[in-house]
């Protein structure tokens, strides 16, 4: 054997290094791909990249096995004539046939009723393009996966502080002293969070994790506080109660930068009841808060305009205006709201002892107050007050789906945002910090059409497919108040459903409520398996037929790189490329990878050729958009504008001459401009030269307090990030919600909800956060189903993506149901035994694993490890299908019929966020005679034509070559 080091690795073949962006999850780390003789030899983190600074996770380091996976689709496929949908019988067809067929069918729909075409996408990172395609098509029926992911997190925070966690903001752990992580999946925001947590711990900060289970990040927390699922809101409200009781809040921050001191009209007889008192009509209307509200002057004991120089307002009290209108500062209403939310009250709900809740409040309040950071950075606020320093209260939070995936999630996240505000931590060092393009106005400006007339044949949609309603007039409903969208988004059922409700599309389309679709195009979302609720039924709906023998969803197109449970149901399969084979942009128009210190966006540049006939989905959209002559894709003569996707990225502008395109770096003819500037023909080259990203570091004085920072806001407006340079005051009290409530109460002359929804809207659209039991629990016999069931995501897998990965599946080949030993003992379930977990909607047989790091009222499992037999290129006897299971079978996409109607989504009543974690279950042992196999099982899927069908007994990978099968040394 040659001595090690005899020959450098790069001399073992033709060595190349190419820089691009990872896509093994949604984190988007910079990577350097080492090739040997054109095949992938090693993928490492890019040390120069601002996001991951050279590190790479288990998924990123296994990209090789994704590239060469046998689950890859390589040919366009059409369901065989006469074959049943779902049987997986396909024939290969050419791309020309695909485009002819789609252009004809979609053209027909567009010319008659564009809403009969729906485009829904998974975790695709190209929403700017897919959204543009849908809008140009003219259909309102578009959304990405946000509605079933974390829209509560986005909406709850954006409607409160003008920004949210992950892409748009996060904890400043570089300077925080106390870090509170609550309900966070292990993959949100993967590598940056891991880097930050380890640095934070090494710097001596205290890390508290509040979670029903102790895994991953929580494992290294200094304190683990187990909590019952769905009760986080109760905890936040009790913490707020304690902070207010003791005066442990940042008074200056609340008065200056939130609406806490603004006076609310409490005249019961007024149509303005519960609205802020305004002293003048704003000279200009726009999507910003006019500064025309009142404070109560502490000194002179009278009302005064907010931010009047030298005035200190009251936060508490009850006052009367000159016309005798009774008013209270919003903060007084918050104090009254949390009066009953004592730590003792919360203890009974959350399972956290009252003394622990009190101590947590004290640790937060005292750390915020007494360990202040003062940076010598001068800045000017929008009221022209000059500040010599930037002050920070070093308590940072991070939260994700554990809070979001409950039907009380929106109000819970409002409560968390208000807690963060009380502590004075918004866009300040050591607290929460924004990332461009946030902060944005509350709510942001984008709006959908507000009626069915926004959908017009052969015309683009008259508005955005997704938006941010500010009042009932912004809802997308017809004259009867009923939804226009297939998913019923932006209707009275889910008024602030900013990301749509993808989880209800198939059921609604199947039922024809509100109407039938013609063509449903699904891009990389596994809606026949782990991305859907009520999986078995949804699979039935996908293949269900009318009495006349036609499919209820007439035409189903699936674009994906991999053979999944979903592709089996397609009438047409479009094989996508992998991330190593295509161009991509992480755009400022979508979810860029900005840092706290300024905007960052990035690209993917192909490092290897596409496999087989794979075509990037972007190219499919550009081709179809051009053939269908969308205004954005053709010139006045109807001639195609863009050669291909890279050409589109360079030359597309949001409006003619706007200077705003998908990429923000190296704009202007010579690449001399950023964010805004003419198209630059050499833009891709310039990104490539810079490691595939563009990072604009803001001046230090623009890096903090951006909601109110005059310099930053003026700069952001000048560069097209925002429309207005107006202050973005924190909505401790939400007038937006109050407007919906007033309508539901019939107090205002705006649009009114249908009667069946009045009580629901009035109850949940509360301008102040409140706690309610999750909707499913309210409607379920919780004595029969005493346990909560939730999922977590392992760090070495992203959703369902990695079971086809030979290395990663060795880490998680099948999942268990984790259960506290006492809970298991009470049910007679032995460690490692087969057991049943049952909800009112169905039951699943799975393997038990006793766990002391599981809250006793909770059972949980790793998400999406379980697979259908034969899916994802796996053998029918693979662990994923024989032992693995999916919890989704236990979760309904709809609530049982109740006073607000039937067929309401199992979602948050404000945002439509899928309430995955609301499900209630019971557990019992499997019988001794039952098969040792997970349940339910489905008929094994066949491989599709064009897939590698050989499954070697073994292989050994060496830089693109697979030794194997023979058993001989390679």
């Amino acid at each position: 054997m040659e001595l090690p080091g005899t020959r450098p690795d790069q001399d073992l073949g033709r060595h190349e290094v190419k820089t691009t962006t990872c896509y093994m999850c949604a984190c988007r780390c910079g990577i350097r791909v080492h090739l040997r003789d054109g095949e992938v030899r090693f993928i490492e983190g890019n040390p120069d990249h601002p996001l991951n600074r050279g590190v790479l996770c288990a998924k990123g380091s296994s990209g090789i096995m994704k590239q060469y996976s046998p689950a890859r689709l390589t040919r366009p496929l059409r369901r065989k004539a006469g074959a049943e949908r779902g049987a997986g019988e396909f024939e290969t067809i050419s791309w020309d046939t695909v485009f002819d067929l789609l252009a004809e069918r979609l053209g027909r729909i567009r010319a008659s009723d564009p809403k009969k075409f729906a485009l829904f996408t998974g975790r695709d990172q190209m929403q700017a393009l897919t959204g543009l395609f849908a809008r140009q098509f003219g259909t309102p029926n578009y959304a990405a996966h946000g509605g079933f992911c974390s829209v509560n997190m986005a909406a709850g925070m954006i409607y409160t502080i003008g920004g949210s966690f992950w892409e748009f903001g996060g904890p400043d752990l570089d300077r925080a002293k106390l870090f509170v992580m609550i309900g966070t999946a292990e993959d949100h925001h993967s590598n940056p969070l891991k880097i930050a947590i380890s640095q934070f711990k090494r710097n001596g900060g205290k890390f508290i994790s509040i979670n029903p289970v102790r895994t991953g990040y929580s494992a290294i927390a200094d304190e683990w506080v187990p909590i019952r699922p769905g009760t986080d809101g109760a905890l936040f409200l009790a913490l707020i109660h304690e902070l207010i009781r003791l005066g442990l809040y940042d008074r200056d921050f609340l008065t200056q930068y939130s609406n806490a001191a603004e006076l609310v009209n409490l005249d019961e007889g007024s149509s303005e009841y519960g609205m802020f008192v305004r002293f003048e009509v704003p000279p200009e209307e726009g999507c910003f808060d006019p500064q025309n509200k009142l404070w109560w002057d502490r000194e002179l004991n009278r009302p005064v305009g907010t931010h009047t120089p030298g005035v200190e307002p009251r936060l508490l009290g009850e006052f009367h205006l000159a016309d005798d209108t009774p008013v209270k500062p919003a903060f007084q209403l918050l104090k009254e709201r949390v009066e009953a939310y004592t730590p003792e009250w919360a203890a009974g709900i959350t399972g956290i002892p009252a003394e622990t809740i009190r101590r947590l409040a004290h640790e937060m309040g005292i750390t915020a107050r007494d360990r202040k950071i003062e940076l010598p950075i001068a800045w000017t606020d929008v009221w022209d007050n000059e500040h010599r320093t930037v002050v920070g209260n070093p308590v940072a939070f991070h939260a994700m789906r554990g809070l979001a995936a409950h039907s009380n999630g929106f109000q819970t996240i409002r409560a968390m945002s208000i807690l963060m505000t009380l502590l004075g931590t918004i866009d300040r060092p050591g607290g929460f910090r924004h990332k461009a393009p946030f902060p944005r106005p509350i709510p942001p400006c984008a709006k959908t059409p507000n009626g069915p007339e926004g959908v017009r044949p052969d015309m683009p949609l008259d508005g955005m497919p997704l938006g941010w309603p500010a009042d009932p007039d912004d809802l997308f409903v017809d004259a009867a108040g009923e939804p226009v969208r297939i998913d019923k988004g932006f209707s009275w059922e889910y008024p602030l459903s900013a990301h749509g409700l993808m989880h209800n599309v198939i059921t609604n389309a199947w039922r024809g409520d509100p109407y039938r679709l013609d063509t449903l195009l699904i891009f990389m979302a596994n809606m026949a398996w782990n991305s859907t609720m009520n999986t078995a039924e949804v699979r039935r709906m996908l293949a269900d037929k009318d009495e006349d023998g036609e499919y209820r969803i007439p035409f189903l197109v699936v674009a994906d790189a991999f053979h999944s449970e979903m592709t089996a149901f397609a009438d047409l399969v479009l094989p996508d490329t992998t991330y190593l084979e295509r161009h991509d942009v992480m755009s400022m128009l979508d979810r860029p990878i900005s840092e706290f210190d300024g905007p960052v966006d990035s690209v993917r540049i192909p490092v290897v050729e596409p496999t087989g006939e794979c075509k990037p989905f972007q190219e499919v959209l550009i081709e179809l958009g051009s053939r269908l002559k969308f205004p954005a894709f053709v010139d006045k003569q109807g001639k195609r504008k863009f050669r291909d996707y890279p050409d589109f990225i360079v030359n597309y502008e949001t409006a003619p001459g706007s200077g705003i395109g998908f990429l923000s770096g190296w704009r202007g003819r010579g690449g001399e401009k950023f964010l805004r500037g003419e198209p630059n023909p050499r833009q891709w080259e310039m990104y490539a030269r810079n490691g595939g990203y563009y990072h604009h570091e803001l001046p230090r004085s623009y890096q903090y307090m951006r909601n109110w920072n005059k310099g930053y806001l003026t700069w952001a407006r000048a560069h097209g990030l925002t429309r207005y340079a107006e202050p973005i005051n924190i909505h401790v009290y939400s007038e937006v919600l109050q407007k919906f409530r007033l309508a539901a109460q019939g107090r205002t002359d705006t649009r009114q909800p249908p009667d069946r929804l009045r009580k629901r809207v009035e109850t949940y659209c509360d301008p102040l956060p409140f706690y309610h039991e999750p909707l499913e629990s309210q409607l379920t016999d919780t004595r029969r189903y005493p346990l909560n069931a939730v999922t977590q995501r392992p760090m070495a897998m992203y959703h369902s993506w990695d079971s086809q990965n030979a290395w990663l599946r060795q880490i998680h080949a099948h999942n268990h149901l984790y259960i506290h030993p006492k809970t298991a003992a009470a049910a007679g379930i032995a460690d490692g035994a087969w057991m049943w977990v049952e909800s009112r909607w169905g039951r699943v047989r799975c393997l038990a694993c006793h766990s002391e790091s599981t809250e006793p009222g909770t059972v949980w499992t790793w998400n999406a490890i379980g697979k259908a037999k034969g899916a994802w290129g796996l053998a029918p006897d693979a662990n994923e299908s024989s032992k693995g299971f999916l919890l989704n079978h236990l979760i309904s996409e709809e609530l049982p019929p109740h006073d607000a109607g039937e067929h309401l989504s199992n979602s948050d009543p404000i945002t439509g966020q899928a309430a995955w974690y609301d499900v209630r279950v019971r557990v019992y042992p499997a019988g001794p005679d039952e098969p040792a196999e997970s349940f339910p099982q489905f008929a094994a899927m066949k491989p599709a034509p064009g897939m590698t069908t050989a499954r070697p007994k073994w292989f050994a990978y060496v830089a693109g070559k697979f030794a194997g099968a023979s058993g001989k040394e390679p």
């Binding site: 711990k201 200094d222 005066g247 760090m795 030979a806 002391e852 292989f955 050994a956």
Partner: protein
């Protein structure tokens, strides 16, 4: 004399497995490869890994610790796997203390894996030779790799920088300082193998609150026309 080693900081390891697969992808196409995978897409997939993460729970709810424990060859100073090797395939390098296997000499007799108390040797079932961590011996001296990346693949990948790499015989090296200052320990010292790799234990940070901190003259409630929380109320609630 140099003894290269890994020091693994359990205080920050979140069990993400980055070290596991970055090791696999570097080494399967490198000097110590290939690393075979059996049933890669079938039942009970299993393959050769030089580094694995074990996860276990310690203590009873709610005082449970979840420990992620990455484990690979510890490059013992007195490695029991070396003297038992009948062919001299297993050897410890003088210049840097790395324990290696010469596959040409290995006959796959497994004596070394029986001798290793840590269970970190893996018989490659395809090649029928014993394989193990080499500390990426084909990276760390490779002058064509940028100097700051001339480290084992697991070290450059680790997102929490839980893996430190260096010479544990140099008292001023990063690894020696970490062992000294953070209470680094070796596994099963009673076996007398003197593992070169060390582990840093969990360290717990707590916040201590003095009752005085809850009652302050600058309490913002003094700016309101309200009664302050009474002292007995506040203190009784606060003292633990």
């Amino acid at each position: 004399m140099t003894q290269l080693a890994l020091v693994i900081d359990l205080n920050v390891c979140v069990g993400c497995h980055a070290c596991v697969t970055s090791c696999k992808q570097w080494n399967t196409s490198g000097w110590a490869g290939p690393m075979a995978d059996f049933n890669p897409y079938g039942a009970d997939p299993t393959g050769t890994f030089f580094n694995r993460v074990q996860t276990f729970e310690v203590g009873e709810f709610p005082h449970t610790q979840t420990v992620h424990f990455p484990k690979s060859c510890l490059h013992c100073e007195d490695p029991p796997c070396v003297p038992v090797c009948p062919t001299g395939a297993s050897y410890k390098r003088k210049e840097d203390g790395i324990v290696l296997v010469d596959y040409d000499k290995c006959i796959g007799c497994k004596y070394c894996s029986w001798a290793c108390p840590y269970g970190v040797r893996e018989l490659d079932e395809a090649q029928k030779v014993m394989k193990k961590c080499t500390l990426c011996v084909d990276r760390i001296y490779d002058q064509t790799i940028p100097e700051d990346r001339r480290k084992p693949a697991c070290v450059i990948a680790c997102p929490t920088s839980a893996r430190l790499f260096g010479d544990v015989h140099d008292p001023d090296s990063e690894v020696s300082v970490a062992i000294r200052e953070a209470g680094g320990y070796a596994l099963m010292p009673e076996w007398g193998t003197r593992p070169a790799n060390h582990y840093l234990p969990r360290r717990r940070t707590a916040i201590r609150i003095h009752p005085d901190e809850l009652v302050r003259a600058d309490n913002p409630l003094t700016k309101e026309d309200v009664a302050l929380p009474s002292a007995d109320n506040t203190l009784e609630d606060a003292i633990m």
